[in-house]
């Protein structure tokens, strides 16, 4: 019985190890989530901050690119 049952940790570990194979996901967002999980920092506040940082980084990087035209 025990062999077939997955613990909660097994489920989460498997999810994060296969997360990049999930269709239509944004790679940078997913990489950030994996990083937070590995650092044991997967909290709502940390995710919100990370998403905002990613957004700002992308907006700024595009703005810089636009300026180069």
């Amino acid at each position: 019985m025990n062999k077939k049952i997955k613990s909660g940790k097994d489920v989460i570990d498997e999810f994060f190890s296969e997360i990049l194979n999930i269709e239509d996901v944004d790679q940078k967002t997913v990489e950030k989530l994996v990083e937070l999980y590995k650092e044991n920092n997967l909290t709502d506040r940390k995710i919100q901050n990370a998403l905002e940082e990613l957004k700002q980084a992308e907006l700024n990087s595009k703005a810089r690119n636009d300026g180069k035209d």
């Binding site: 025990n2 077939k4 049952i5 944004d26 967002t29 992308e58």
Partner: protein, 802 residues
């Protein structure tokens, strides 16, 4: 996996002097009356493994129950301690508590620390009070408890995080109304450039067309080119005019954006109103919502055993604690459903506020424009302030309590037509101001180009932000969908296999009953896992576990089955578990099967089985002893506290002592057990035939069967013996008609009743037992000549047919 070789306890709870149990990896059955220290053993284990004693952890006894852990009679210079030696000596541990309630442990190795850390999620102790907690818990509590046990609470946390973020991003996208923002920017571009610009190419085309009249000889091919052109045609003398144009353009822009959000605001308020109206249909229910916290507190008081006996702590009326918890769970579940509806209203309110507040902020910022300080714009300012007022009226509705009526959606709204008038005025004014300078074509083109470029850059930023958030939303929705699939698959595998074990254990204890195929089934609502229920086949019909129809004994069997299935599924470090007084409400048949379940299906485990039930102890001790278990009796003395009793329990002495002390607690049961023991001897000596049974089962003869057998034998063989023994009178006693330990025996004996019964039983026994030679009347002393049966010395002699 760890098994225990020996346990030493001293100065903990009821144990004052050293209590030693050398069990050498064997299971053990421990009997002790209430107050003899059985629970001290369990408490000490709980403290050692979990560093707390759950049932002592309340406001009065602080520090996770540690304040009540140390025996109060232990001298101040001595420590209280529990010392366990395991089969793996690297795990041997002595945990002590000194007079200042500071704890220390002898083993600080990594191996031991890892062992204790891993043991935290294992099921090592089951007390009677915890037996049915899972069974009678609400569906949500069942899910939470189960997820905690199987380590799925973290899974639930991750799932909740993914869902929360997907929802939050979706709400942000909705409240930002990006399409509306982009439309406003395109309107400005169209107004100034004479065409829309969704790409750089379109912008450059429009810009080149715009600057043509200036004949600059420059072709705009980049944003940098636009900057160069703007610098080239910039004029300093019309700053005041430019300020005015920008002022009206900004007003046009802000108000256009606000007006574009009006429909969303109206729609959201309509939803808020509908949910609120539904909730207000039953104002009494809403009032009851205030009781939720009180009921939950009551539930916690009962579960934590603050009240020990079967009565309601509020009204002080007698009531079964299990029933009370069940009723509380039901009421809490009903109110939680209502609270869920209320949460929906709160969420809708949050969404509406999120939609309105940014618009108010934009208007506030607009009203701070320098030009609004001028008197000529006073009217315009007050018109815009009116818009803000109508937005605020929605927020005012949100602050109303549920006892006050909400304004109907038709009665509270923003008049878009009036709004459009101001928007149009602003747009026209900006245009007039720009185009009135027809003599200064350079200024016009400069203004239009700079307005168009600014709007285009903002348009692009909005579109990019929308794209990023939409990608994040798709990502989180995809992750959530994938994650719930994994969680449900894993949970279903677990529930299926776990249910099989529960069903196996339950049906072992309850064979040939119509409750079969017990399983734990997940409950979903709107695609979300919200609870777990217990289902079974009841009289061949699949239904939710019929708790209401089952006795406490059956519920306890189910609770025990759940615990034992958990032991098998999750205990990876420890191969022992403690069952503390869990058979109190089991009837006789369940007790026997329970012992069988432990010895047959848990023979690999080391079971520490504690009981204060003398009858149960008598019933199973020979069985479990045959299977290699140790048997011990606990006693309590004033000087030493709890300890192990030497020698066997002398039932008759205990009965006489109880009569002397007028103590009826368990006395009826003691008399029955004593009668059973004596009647076995009588039946043996007069060769009273009983039904054939195999091996140990042969010993399990209940008093009524033995009394019948003896009565039948002496009716056939003895002349006058039947009348003298008067077994019929004994058989009519309540303890032999039913089962005194059964929950449905309603006999409430008094000491006088029991005295009369005891006298009758002693009379009956004196018929068969000689106090002079201390021997039973027996067929081995049969006198063939005179056809008489007698005792060893001949004092007791009766006629006996050959």
């Amino acid at each position: 996996m760890a098994k225990i070789k020996s346990i030493n306890i001293s100065g903990i709870r009821g144990v004052k002097d050293l209590l030693t149990l050398d069990i050498n990896k064997k299971s053990i059955l421990i009997y002790g009356d209430n107050g003899t220290g059985k629970s001290s053993l369990t408490d000490a284990f709980e403290w050692l493994f979990y560093d707390r004693i759950g049932h002592l952890s309340n406001e009065e006894i602080g520090r996770k129950g540690r304040d009540a852990l140390r025996n109060i009679f232990v001298p101040g210079n001595e420590d209280g301690y529990i010392e366990i030696k395991f089969d793996n000596n690297k795990l041997d541990i002595k945990k002590s508590i000194d007079s200042s309630i500071s704890a220390s442990t002898s083993n600080i190795s990594d191996e031991f620390n890892d062992f204790i850390a891993a043991s935290q999620s294992e099921n090592l102790i089951l007390r009677y009070r915890d037996l049915v907690q899972f069974i009678i818990a609400s569906k949500t509590e069942k899910l939470t408890k189960l997820q905690n046990i199987i380590g799925f609470s973290e899974v639930a946390d991750v799932r909740s995080l993914l869902k929360k973020n997907a929802g939050r991003i979706a709400r942000n996208i909705k409240s930002s109304n990006y399409d509306n923002q982009k439309n406003v920017k395109q309107s400005i571009i169209l107004e100034n450039l004479g065409r829309n610009a969704h790409s750089d190419e379109q912008l450059f085309e429009g810009a080149n067309e715009l600057i043509k009249p200036l004949k600059l000889g420059i072709e705009i091919k980049s944003r940098e080119d636009i900057k160069k052109v703007l610098k080239k045609i910039e004029t300093k003398e019309d700053n005041a005019l430019l300020e005015q144009i920008n002022f009206f353009t900004r007003m046009w822009e802000v108000l256009s954006e606000v007006v574009g959000n009006v429909d969303n605001i109206h729609e959201s308020y309509k939803s808020y109103h509908t949910i609120g109206k539904e909730l207000k249909k039953d104002p009494e229910k809403i009032k009851k919502l205030q009781l939720l916290a009180l009921l939950k507190e009551g539930q916690s008081v009962l579960k934590n055993d603050v009240v020990q006996d079967n009565y309601c702590p509020l009204c002080q009326q007698e009531k079964s604690k299990v029933q009370l918890i069940q009723e509380l769970n039901k009421r809490i579940e009903e109110l939680e459903q209502l609270a869920e509806e209320k949460n929906k209203l709160d969420e809708q309110a949050e969404e509406l506020e999120q939609l309105i507040q940014p618009n108010i902020n934009m208007i506030d910022s607009l009203l701070r424009e320098k030009l609004f300080k001028k008197d000529k714009y006073e009217k315009l300012k007050s018109q815009i302030a009116e818009v803000k007022k109508s937005l605020n009226s929605f927020l005012y509705e949100l602050k109303k309590g549920l006892s006050v009526a909400f304004a109907e959606p038709g009665k509270i709204k923003i008049d878009k037509n009036e709004f459009y008038i101001i928007v149009k005025q602003s747009q026209d004014t900006a245009k007039i101001l720009t185009e009135n300078q027809s003599s200064n074509i350079k200024f016009q083109i400069y203004t239009k180009l700079s307005q168009a470029v600014t709007a285009y850059e903002e348009y692009q930023r909005i579109e990019k932000e929308q794209g990023i958030l939409s990608r994040q939303q798709v990502t989180f929705e995809g992750l959530y969908a994938d994650f719930i699939k994994r969680q449900e698959e894993a949970l279903n595998v677990f529930l299926t296999m776990f249910s099989q074990d529960i069903d196996d254990y339950y049906t072992t204890m309850n064979p040939n009953e119509r409750v079969e195929d017990i399983k734990l089934v997940p409950i979903k609502k709107d695609g979300d896992l919200v609870g777990i229920t217990i289902e079974c086949s009841f009289f061949d019909e699949a239904k939710t576990f019929p708790i209401a129809y089952l006795s406490e004994s059956h519920l306890n069997c189910l609770g025990l089955s759940f615990f034992l299935a958990s032991v098998k599924a999750f205990n990876k470090e420890n191969e022992f578990f403690i069952l503390d007084d869990i058979i109190s409400s089991y009837d006789r048949s369940h007790r026997a099967r329970f012992a069988k379940l432990l010895t047959e299906k848990f023979s690999d485990y080391q079971v520490i089985l504690l009981t204060h039930e003398q009858e149960f102890f008598e019933l199973v001790s020979s069985d479990v002893k045959n299977k290699g278990w140790s048997i011990k009796n606990f006693k309590w003395t004033k000087n030493s506290g709890a300890g192990v009793e030497k020698g066997t329990v002398k039932i008759k002495e205990r009965i006489l002592k109880k009569f002397k002390e007028k103590n009826i607690d368990g006395l009826g049961n003691d008399i029955r057990v004593y009668t059973e023991k004596v009647m076995k001897e009588v039946a043996f000596n007069i060769e009273a035939p009983v039904a054939f049974r195999y091996n140990a089962l042969n010993e399990k003869r209940m008093a009524p069967e033995l009394l019948n057998a003896v009565q039948s034998r002496i009716s056939k063989k003895g002349n006058g013996l039947k009348e003298k023994a008067n077994i019929t009178r004994v058989k009519g006693m309540p303890m032999f008609i039913g089962n005194t330990t059964s929950h449905d025996n309603e006999f409430n004996e008094s000491i006088e009743d029991l005295e009369v019964m005891w006298e009758n039983i002693e009379n009956m026994i004196r018929t068969f037992y000689c106090n002079s030679c201390r021997k039973f009347m027996s067929v081995k002393y049969f006198d063939n000549v005179e056809s008489k049966i007698r005792c060893g010395c001949g004092n007791l002699t009766y006629d006996w047919e050959k």
